[in-house]
Every structure is written in structure tokens, then in C-alpha cells.
Symmetry: C2
Subunit: 241 residues, 2 copies
């Protein structure tokens, strides 16, 4: 290795490699030289990562609620009114909203209900909302509310104290079975997604959710994620496999 080391120092233009090699053991030197050589031969191909393009959906705070609970807040027999259709099959933002009050007795007004009515009351909040309301929100998949944070809901006809129900939704990608197969991802798998720009980040554990009702792949994140990474609804990002 002395011969190599000597040649490298006198002839080579790349001081970084030579410096690194000079301070290493024989085995380390071989590894360094092989790695650097391969990286140079392959160029960008050595670090290029497979993946696919998708778009962003930023979810503002909202709740899902069964008919009984909704009746307690808005009066028996009242039904949800369509305000705007959402990307999920049959899902919509309702005209109806509630006020929520946390354990510190602070309130957030105008929290929108998503329809249709479901089998459990669940409130999805961003961590910043949790700080404001005095809640520690567990990061969960939608529907997994056991042991989650307590909260009070108030509607025009009544109030409802919940021992649990407030979560931070985990980051997830809605994708069709066809696209999942095309990109080689499976339901429940966690992948990384990169957001570009000066405020850009890589989200490390984004859960794949496969359902035939989903059209183009969409990553759903909360407002803290969107605001932190400079992302808004419809922005293009890249999944890294």
C-alpha cells in the first residue's frame, strides 16, 4: 500500500481521497479506493434512488362522528350537509362544525365534521393544536383511538365529553392496487417521501394504504407537516423506495 499511497499523494489531483487514504489501515484504504472509484464511474447512478411521484393533501383539523353522537350535538334527526366532496370514495366535508375544548379549557372553533357518519368519534388534530388545547396526541392510523386524548365537543344543541378520541393522524399515502403493484409497495409498508425546496424535508415513515377507491397516489399529512415543509394541497413530491 505504500506504493499506492506515494503515487496518490504525488500525482493525483483529488486531495480529499488522498488525505483520507493516508490516514487509514490497509483494509480501510482498499475499501475507500474501491468505493470512491465506483462512485466516480457510476456518477449519479450510484446514488439515484427508485421511487414515484405523488401529490400532497394537507388535512386541517377535523372530526368523524357516528349518528348518535352527532344527534347529541346538532339535535336528533339532523343530518350532515354536503359542503365539498373529498378525494376518498363517498367522503365529504360537511357544512356542520363544532367547537372543541381541551383539558386546559381553551377552545378551537369551527372544527369541520367529515361525512358520512361512522362508527366511532375521532378528532384528528395537528400537534400545534394539541399544545394549544393542553393535549398530548398519540400518532395513530385513523380508527385506532384506544387510549387517545380526551376532549369536549360542543354543538348548537348539546355538548359531549369524550374520554378518548383525539389523535394525530400518521402520515400516509392513499394508492390504488394497480399503482401499488406498479411501484412495488404493499398495504402497511412504510416508505420515505421527499419534499423539495428551502424548507424541504424527508418524511421518514409514511404508511402505504391501498384501496381500490383511490385514484392517483396522494400523501396525506397534517397542517404542522405542511407548514413545516412548505407544502400545500396539490404540490408534487417524490416517494423514495
Amino acid at each position: 500500500m505504500n506504493q499506492y499511497r506515494s503515487n496518490a499523494r504525488s500525482d493525483c489531483q483529488d486531495c480529499r481521497l488522498c488525505e483520507a487514504v493516508a490516514q487509514q489501515s490497509d483494509e480501510e484504504r482498499i475499501r475507500t479506493v474501491v468505493r470512491e472509484t465506483v462512485l466516480r464511474v457510476l456518477g449519479d447512478q450510484a446514488t439515484a434512488q427508485p421511487g414515484f411521484e405523488l401529490i400532497v393533501g394537507v388535512s386541517a383539523r377535523h372530526l368523524q362522528i357516528p349518528v348518535d353522537d352527532f344527534g347529541m350535538l346538532y339535535g336528533e334527526g339532523h343530518t350532515l350537509t354536503l359542503e365539498r366532496e373529498l378525494s376518498g370514495p363517498g367522503e365529504f366535508a360537511a357544512r356542520e362544525t363544532v367547537t372543541i375544548v381541551g383539558p386546559n379549557l381553551r377552545a378551537l372553533q369551527g372544527v369541520r365534521i367529515l361525512g358520512p357518519c361512522r362508527s366511532g368519534t375521532q378528532i384528528e388534530l395537528a400537534p400545534t393544536d394539541g399544545v394549544y388545547l393542553g393535549l398530548t396526541l398519540p400518532m395513530r392510523a385513523s380508527g385506532d383511538i384506544s387510549g387517545s386524548a380526551p376532549l369536549t365537543l360542543i354543538g348548537p344543541k348539546g355538548a359531549l365529553y369524550l374520554n378518548e378520541g383525539a389523535i394525530r393522524a400518521d402520515r400516509h399515502i392513499h394508492i390504488s392496487p394497480e399503482d401499488a403493484s406498479r411501484y412495488g409497495v404493499t398495504d402497511g409498508q412504510r416508505i420515505r417521501v421527499e419534499a423539495p425546496g428551502p424548507a424541504g424535508v424527508v418524511f421518514n415513515q409514511v404508511r402505504i394504504r391501498v384501496n381500490k377507491g383511490f385514484r392517483q397516489p396522494v400523501m396525506h399529512i397534517d397542517t404542522d407537516d405542511g407548514n413545516s415543509a412548505g407544502l400545500k394541497c396539490g404540490d408534487g413530491i417524490r416517494a423514495i423506495l
Copy 2:
């Protein structure tokens, strides 16, 4: 290459490599084999990334203000009162706060002033604050406020309308010259920092700020970043070089 291809298909256990190689041109085949071989020989070393450990400082919304502007809000001759010392040399959180009002006329109360008084009024807000106040915050290094967002400050003795001054501070690392030299980073350089855990992210462009007044390396982020990534003050993270 036919010989290699044939051998690979019949003898090798690694179907992924063989499959990939079989579908490629001669040049691509060579590259694939070299890359896969090097990755196997090097193991984790091929992907291990150099870096260093540091801790997190999450900055809540705050402002810096010169003596004249402070006098307009709190009365001429009033001086800032020490509430709590901060990590920067001579810096402190003051007891005095202001209310800020955005272009949409919504208000945030209790925004803390950082001392000592400086040469320009600058308000550092998280993007979530900007959404609430109706502001688009440019992401800037502290002190770079030209063309930034307008805002009104209100104190007990007066109000101050600013044509500019509200920014989102860029993510940055405070580091001493000794540590910067030890880790091979320079003032103004941008590096990546990884936050662990299920809410973890990689921040892509974190600016290095070298100053002899800084003790241990600290990454300063805003509350949106901290809440998005599940980070709080004092948490340990890793810079990736």
C-alpha cells in the same frame, strides 16, 4: 456477457440481481454487477454517513426590537426586564411581551421580546402563525428582513405599524469555531439533520452558523418544525454530512 448471464441465472441465489442484469444492456450489466458487489463487500459502510450529534432548540414566536421602537410600545425610558437567560451570549427572554395583529386583523397575544435591544425590529413566527394572521412569511436568516411581511405591534403605551419585519427564521445550527473545525463544517454551509422516531424527518437544508460564543452545537427550529417532527428542546438529533 452471455456467459455471465447464463451462469448467474443457473448458479446464483440472488434472483433480484440476476433478473435485473438479464434485462440490461452490456454496459448497464457491468455497472449493476460492480455496484451490487461493492455494496455487498462494504455492507453498512457503503451507506453509513458521517455526521455529528447535536441537540434541538425549538424557538417559539418572538421579536427583537431597537430601543426607539420599544419606547413607542412601552413608554420612553422603559427598559427590558430579564425573565430568563438564553444560550446565545448576552441574550435573554424579557418579561415584556406584545400583541401582534396581522393584515386580516386577527391577533396573537403574549409574543415575547428577546433582549438586548437591537438595530432593527424583527418578528420571527412559525408558518402556522402566518396562516392565522394572514401573512406569507419568507424563510430568512435572522436580520434579513428586506421585503418581509407587514405586521402591527401593540404594547401598553402605543402601537407600531411595520411595513416589513415578520419572517420565518431558517433552520440553523449554532456551533463554535472549534466544533466546526472538528466536524469539518463552515459558516453558511447547509447540511442535513435527521430527527428519529415515528414522526421523524430529515431537514434538508440546515444552515451552519459559526460563532465563538456558542457552546455545544444546537439546531434552532421553529414550533412548526418541532411539532411536525416530534422534537422538543433538548432532544438529541444527528447532523448528516
